[in-house]
Symmetry: C2
Subunit: 210 residues, 2 copies
């Protein structure tokens, strides 16, 4: 059945999502397998899992065999009873996540990325899905005015001065002067900007968390 008798009319709804009458197609997470994996890893029998979660063992069995789609209430009992975080039920057990990656970037061979105010050299660009984005930057800007507005983005920034003198502007603090060897760490959602104040170009190393 799943008789999806489409809402009459509604001609304009052209999201083109599931024309043709088939379902929106959700990439199915096999929660049953997850539950079973967690239970067996803990060496629980269905009976014991039943005790811990307060769910009937028949229910647990059906869930593990994907015969039913547990309600949210049941999911919560499961998580509480098996002492796991809810999100853990959905993320693949993926101990498989990469763990042997490496990327070397020799000096001045990074991937150039130019902006009016900065001259970025992105590092370690061969790797994707990194937790940090490192880049070496040459500061061109000499005045705060050159920035139309604060720079903001998700995550946190670590900044290390390699050469020259810079001034770091941040939304909630007074500007601060940084010279070679100095560093700063700040929440990147806070507005920020950097200008060079030395004769020669200033170079900094920047690492942004994702």
């Amino acid at each position: 059945m799943k008789n999806k008798n489409e809402t009459d009319s509604a001609p304009s709804m052209n999201i083109v999502r599931n024309e043709g009458g088939n379902e929106p197609k959700v990439k199915t997470v096999h929660i049953g397998q997850q539950v079973k994996a967690i239970r067996t890893q803990n060496k629980f029998t269905l009976e014991e899992a039943s005790r811990r979660t307060g769910l009937a063992k028949s229910t647990l069995s059906k869930i593990e065999n994907e015969q039913i789609s547990p309600t949210f209430m049941v999911l919560q009992k499961l998580a509480a009873g098996l002492e796991i975080d809810l999100p853990q039920l959905f993320t693949q057990p993926s101990k498989v996540q990469a763990s042997g990656r490496r990327d070397i970037t020799k000096a001045n061979t990074g991937k150039a990325h130019l902006t009016p105010t900065y001259e970025h050299e992105l590092l370690a660009t061969e790797l994707s899905n990194k937790k940090m984005l490192p880049y070496k930057t040459c500061i061109r800007s000499r005045s705060f005015d050159e920035y139309g507005d604060w720079i903001r983005h998700e995550g946190e920034d670590f900044l290390f001065v390699l050469e020259g003198d810079i001034q770091l502007f941040t939304e909630f603090y007074e500007p601060v002067l940084l010279s070679k060897g100095d560093s700063a760490y700040y929440d990147a959602t806070m507005g920020h900007a950097v200008i060079s104040i030395s004769e020669q170009d200033a170079h900094i190393l920047w690492v942004t968390s994702t």
Copy 2:
């Protein structure tokens, strides 16, 4: 068989969970509020959310008002239709996370941390709960043998050579020579170690993701 011969007794590890026969008491996550918040933030009407998720608007209404406990199948449709990650439905919207922090570390004023092989200078130590741990390190070791075993830890490492020449050993790759300005990014769960191969001491900047 794992039967360690302790049938019931097992005094040492009883989790003391719900003696007394009452329910396990689950801290309820109000998923309805979450859904409503996400929908309204996106300025969707129930009707539009219905189109996007393939769920009846009556169902959506009931979910938002906590009148029913959606099944996992419905949760998936919700997440897909509203284009959010499933876990996002359970974690509090917590925009409350800190977002105006800043910490400046002037050159050579970090917190020293010595090991037989490295001489670390921890940076930005005034801030806790950082997503990255930055430190400047002077490499003392001159031979791989000085390391009893590989160094490993959670997360990823970014390494930038500030001064001198080093050799980076990693578990799954051939050793590589790095000089001033070179950098490396690698999974820190992979065994790794660094030795200095230059006359003078080698200095590197290290950033570890957490």
